[in-house]
Symmetry: C2
Subunit: 351 residues, 2 copies
DNA sequence: TGTTAGCACTCACTTTAATAGAGTGCTAAT
DNA sequence: ATTAGCACTCTATTAAAGTGAGTGCTAACA
């Protein structure tokens, strides 16, 4: 198990994975013999492959078929690749600017930006994509309460990054315009610039204190602000390219297709995916789930590569690419990196 | 072509459609011979079927297979069914109350309501569903402009039915809080209760006149109000049950699946579907597209049944059910009717 | 000892042929 | 006008045979 692979085995494994990524067919010893620069006969390769299989890196769909990378094999491949790509920081300048133009063109609201990002990525990669809206460790920028009629009040919260949330509150007792005005001033002077987390008991009692007679109402509004702006509860998720998944034969059969498409329809499942990937990606921000590693059972025959994008301080949103296990990991990671950069920029300039 | 069908042919056609809806297999003469109460031998049925085929109501997938309803056949069947069901107004009381509870439970915002509706319908029918948000022939209830910082203004428009729209405006020149306050009063006193259509040149010049110095800004805001609240441009569409489509063998092959799922992902295509179905459904509000009749090419092998739901005056939103051509039209229509009623109620109480 | 050539063997996939069965169309009898 | 009967057609199923990619193993080789 823990046994290290020697140089040659590694090379062969890589070749197998690589070839399989391209063709989607089990790859045999003869192919590898020609494919690599090792100058080994197929027989030797066979021996090595046999070893690799014993070690669990590759699998035979049936006797007398070529080999296919196992999840473990993919994993090794990906980890290795990552290490190599680490400092390259790929300068596909042309593609980058192209993206930049696309992304910043006429995008005024965050949601549109994210949806566009998802679409762009999906088109570029031919896989499916997920983009989550930023989690709001962000600060409150502005609060606006407005009386709509006697018993209904509109509560709008603008967060940094120009994400706007709103909700209508049913009032238990009538209040007048003057009061609303005061409340607005109160809330804005107290809460602007704060994150949800920073609103602690102290702040709350301070506010309710100042509100005097309207303490009850203030408490309700605070709840609503928390609900409206708070946590990842109603994290929005944008997807694109789900149909791309049907292009890969190993996923296009009825069972798989249903399962996968379903994930994209019930975006809730994607939420868990994103949440857990945010937790998992410590270092580079890149997280790769291969096959069964994924937290979403329906995707056990896919691979998912996610990357978090930053806005200033603190982890924020996540971009994910979902494809068959034999997806082109290199390309995917590159794409993610460039897009991440774009998003970071977009939010930087926009905040 | 124009030739009427006699009683017997009609009965046979109905039997064929009915049987095919159930089994999904071509139906042969012997089956019909037993299936109906006509007491005719298979040979006779065969002759009749041959006629029906000549008239274009049924088709043979290949020689020596049974018959399948053509689009024309389905059409006749549906039209006939509709006529019969017209005044029944089906009282599946139990199911209705069940729905009612589900729909009105904890739904505070329109969008949630519609999404729930879509989901409910999809589950009930095992087909895919589309629900469009109401088109805003509706009136403006409330407008709120707020200064976020020196050069950004938030513009929120609440429509009747508590649909909230918002947008951030970049200001060309700075204005102060006082001005914003005045603008708010101006807009609200002038525009509240109006529909977008009613805001004509007269109103506009009236407002810009009163705004004096800020005329330029006012004009921009008006544009934004129109854009934000206006027309069906950003009509929202909710869908559910897309994966249900994969359950029907005639649609689950790769080509069809891709086409269909794609429609649900790119909701834009559904927009055209909804738009044109609103135009088409004059009388009962029910519109049935069978096969090629559909305005969305990707769905040429499906049937779509849509129904508009009302809120007070004027046509509003649309609910649609999408399934295979051999969908259970009766059930679908019944479901639509009950849901329509629920939605109508929900909006009545909520406005 | 590591590498290689060679060969028998396995197993999925393809092709072909044979067969069964559902359903039709037509004809002749009722 | 209806029906029984029969030849015919065409799909779907099954079985048999053949193909080919790929393996594992052995024996020879450097």
């Amino acid at each position: 198990m823990g046994q290290e692979l020697d140089e040659r085995k590694l090379k062969i494994l890589k070749a197998i994975v690589h070839n399989y990524l391209e063709t989607g067919e089990p790859v045999g010893s003869r192919t590898i013999s020609k494919y690599t620069d090792l100058n080994l006969s197929s027989a030797t390769i066979r021996n090595e492959m046999s070893d690799l299989e014993d070690m669990g890196y590759i699998v035979q769909p049936h006797t007398s078929a070529g080999r296919i990378p196992s999840d473990k094999g993919y994993r090794l491949y990906v980890d290795n690749m990552m290490k190599e790509k680490e400092e390259e920081l790929s300068e596909k300048q042309q593609e980058i600017t192209e993206m930049k133009e696309f992304l910043t063109e006429k995008v005024e609201q965050v949601e549109e930006l994210l949806q566009n990002t998802a679409k762009l990525l999906a088109n570029n990669t031919n896989y499916a994509t997920v983009v989550s809206s930023p989690r709001f460790t962000k600060r409150i920028k502005f609060i606006q309460l407005s009386l709509i009629n006697e018993d209904k009040m509109l509560c709008v919260v603008v967060m940094e990054g120009n994400v706007i949330k709103n909700k209508i509150v049913n009032l238990s007792k009538n209040i007048d315009g003057e009061t609303v005005l005061k409340l607005n001033i109160l809330f804005n002077s107290t809460l602007n610039g704060m994150t949800i987390e920073e609103i602690n008991l102290g702040t709350i009692s301070q506010i309710t204190g100042q509100a005097g007679e309207q303490g009850e109402l203030v408490r309700r509004v605070l709840e609503i602000i928390a609900e409206v702006a708070g946590s990842g509860e109603d994290m929005k998720i944008f997807t694109s390219g789900a149909t791309n998944m049907l292009k890969y034969p190993e996923l296009s059969d009825n069972v798989h297709a249903s399962e996968i498409i379903n994930v994209f329809e019930e975006k809730q499942q994607l939420e868990t995916l994103i949440t857990s990937s945010e937790e998992g990606s410590a270092g580079t921000g890149i997280q790769v789930y291969i096959g069964n590693e994924t937290p979403v059972q329906n995707m056990k025959d896919c691979s998912v590569v996610t990357m978090t994008y930053d806005i200033g301080d603190g982890v924020q949103g996540t971009i994910g690419i979902i494809g068959p296990k034999r997806m082109d990991y290199e390309k995917v990671v590159e794409n993610l990196k460039t897009v991440k950069k774009q998003l970071d920029d977009a939010f930087q300039n926009n905040t």
